[in-house]
Point group: C2
Chain length 336, copies 2
């Protein structure tokens, strides 16, 4: 079998470019003893992958040139030498931007439960983005009923889940998103109490102060320092900042990055700021899946996918993430 | 009676100057019903007071021009119209930089237990500095045996207590202080594992990396952003930063302040940074006093006082705090 892949052609410097990637094709031999071959139906496009593409060390190893770009994947077993993983079964994995994935002995794949929730959701609202929202908000943010939770990139996969989970927990929720369509979706479909269109607000501190007149108890952020700094003085006493992602900072060198200067609030308002890597919560994923699935089924947790078609679309889709072009969980569909 | 006081002559802008203060004298009438008059024997000189002297809002109200500069005080009742507070009793209070203090009905004063610990320690290692070290380190820093705790302004009242409490809890402790004498005191008298002389180290990140070769688990800081930023990349996984004070930032306007740029570590190393105001722990002070007193008595918690004489010495002593001139808890003795 031929396996087409998107590989790293050049280490990314600054904003990613389509030319940082290229497509190649390699042979995928039939499965050896215990091995399972999966055809990926959907692969994810994640801003968090940016860190690994520059060649600098992060919490995961950098991607070498010529290697497949990593991502979450969902697909079906198409060849198996392992009775536990029959052909036809749906599985989620992390095979990256390629048509096929090989699992030795079932390692790195998990069975997708049958049911009304479509397979792609298992790498979205039930995958890393949904789990990041769940643990970041509930373990670090710990919103209490009546508190105000502010969420950035609120129309994205992580932010939209974080805001809805805050609402389910009784908090008032305000989202920041780019454009009127996203903002309407937040307030009209997802039940956010207010939405701030960052494209229409020249002064973000003023906009947040207007929509959060009592201040912000929990700020769940996926943007980075340029957004955190103006919001620090608006945090309420004992406020919590959840550093879930740093999308705007990934592409900036140290000198270009905005520094946090409004740090006096850490003492005057007794703030806590904490980052997370969701894999630290792996032992609690089952509990989260059960709860998230329940919320999806009773209509309290909605999600949206933003799907492009084909491996060829992936580089442009990745570049577009950093220009605010996605509206929901960005995925590429490889099998139609 | 005449009560001489140091009052605020001008709101402090940038580095404090002696001319920001002046001495006046007011009449102190005899105590009215239930009132208690205290003669202050020692008053404290605290960097944290800087925030209230600029006229900007902080977690406490700003000091109006002409008002007494606030501080902790310890002294004896010299006139009383309250049977619960007899003349001669030692009490700690917060009367500020003045010779006398008036307590209505015993409010704002607490009895100092008799014993081998001298009264001045009750506004030092057993006062706000010691309590800040205790709760900041144990509640936010939470050092575990074998972890590395880095402490800045380590020869100061808060830092020296924080480092020793970390050591008592089984952590390896490294202090940053200004000058060889302070560094020798840390390692030879207080049992710090290592000390870094900030006056002799052009590259603080390199010095910390050298003395903390496995990284820093807990950074207990009293300096501010200029020191935090180089240390962020040296924090170990799940590291904690305790924002106890921001001495270097108090005197800087927003534009002059160093911004935190090495914030990627918040995700890559899952860091937590949290500020504290010790009064939030007031209900737990008794427990802390018991434990701190035990450590002092069994010789595991040492402290040092840096005493000037007379009200007239206070403005210069305060200015000197921001030039690293103090070596231990800075106090002024008003009764010799």
């Amino acid at each position: 079998m031929i396996n087409r892949r998107v590989v790293l052609a050049a280490h990314v410097s600054g904003m990613p470019r389509e030319s940082d990637f290229r497509i190649d094709a390699v042979d995928q031999p039939p499965p050896g003893e215990g091995e399972v071959v999966v055809r990926n139906h959907y692969v994810s496009v994640d801003p968090g992958m940016r860190g690994r593409l520059s060649g600098e060390a992060s919490y995961t190893a950098p991607v070498p040139l010529g290697d497949v770009v990593g991502s979450a994947t969902v697909g079906r077993v198409i060849a198996s030498n392992n009775d536990a993983w029959p052909v036809g079964e749906w599985v989620a994995g992390a095979f990256g931007w390629q048509e096929l994935g090989l699992s030795p002995g079932g390692r790195g794949i998990r069975r997708i439960p049958e049911g009304p929730i479509p397979p792609s959701a298992h790498i979205g609202v039930l995958g890393i983005p949904g789990l990041t929202a769940y643990f970041g908000l509930l373990d670090i943010g710990q919103p209490k009923p009546g508190e105000t939770v502010l969420v950035s990139t609120a129309a994205g996969a992580v932010g939209s889940a974080a805001g809805q989970i805050a609402r389910i927990n009784g908090a008032s929720t305000v989202g920041i998103a780019g454009g009127q369509a996203k903002c309407r979706w937040l307030t009209e479909e997802l039940g956010f109490d207010a939405a701030i269109d960052r494209l229409a607000e020249p002064d973000m501190a003023a906009a947040v102060a207007r929509e959060c007149p009592d201040g912000v108890d929990v700020f769940f952020d996926n943007v980075g320092n340029s957004l955190i700094d103006p919001i620090l003085p608006l945090m309420r006493q004992h406020g919590r900042l959840v550093i879930s992602g740093q999308t705007a900072d990934y592409n900036l060198g140290r000198e270009e990055r905005v520094g946090l200067k409004n740090t006096r609030s850490f003492i005057t308002a007794r703030l806590k700021m904490q980052g997370l890597v969701v894999f630290d919560y792996a032992r609690e994923f089952s509990k989260a899946w059960t709860e998230l699935t329940g919320w999806i089924q009773d209509g309290r947790l909605k999600y949206r996918e933003d799907i492009v078609d084909g491996l060829e679309s992936l580089p442009a889709a990745f570049v577009g993430l950093f220009q605010g072009q996605n509206f929901g969980r960005k995925l590429a569909r490889l099998v139609s």
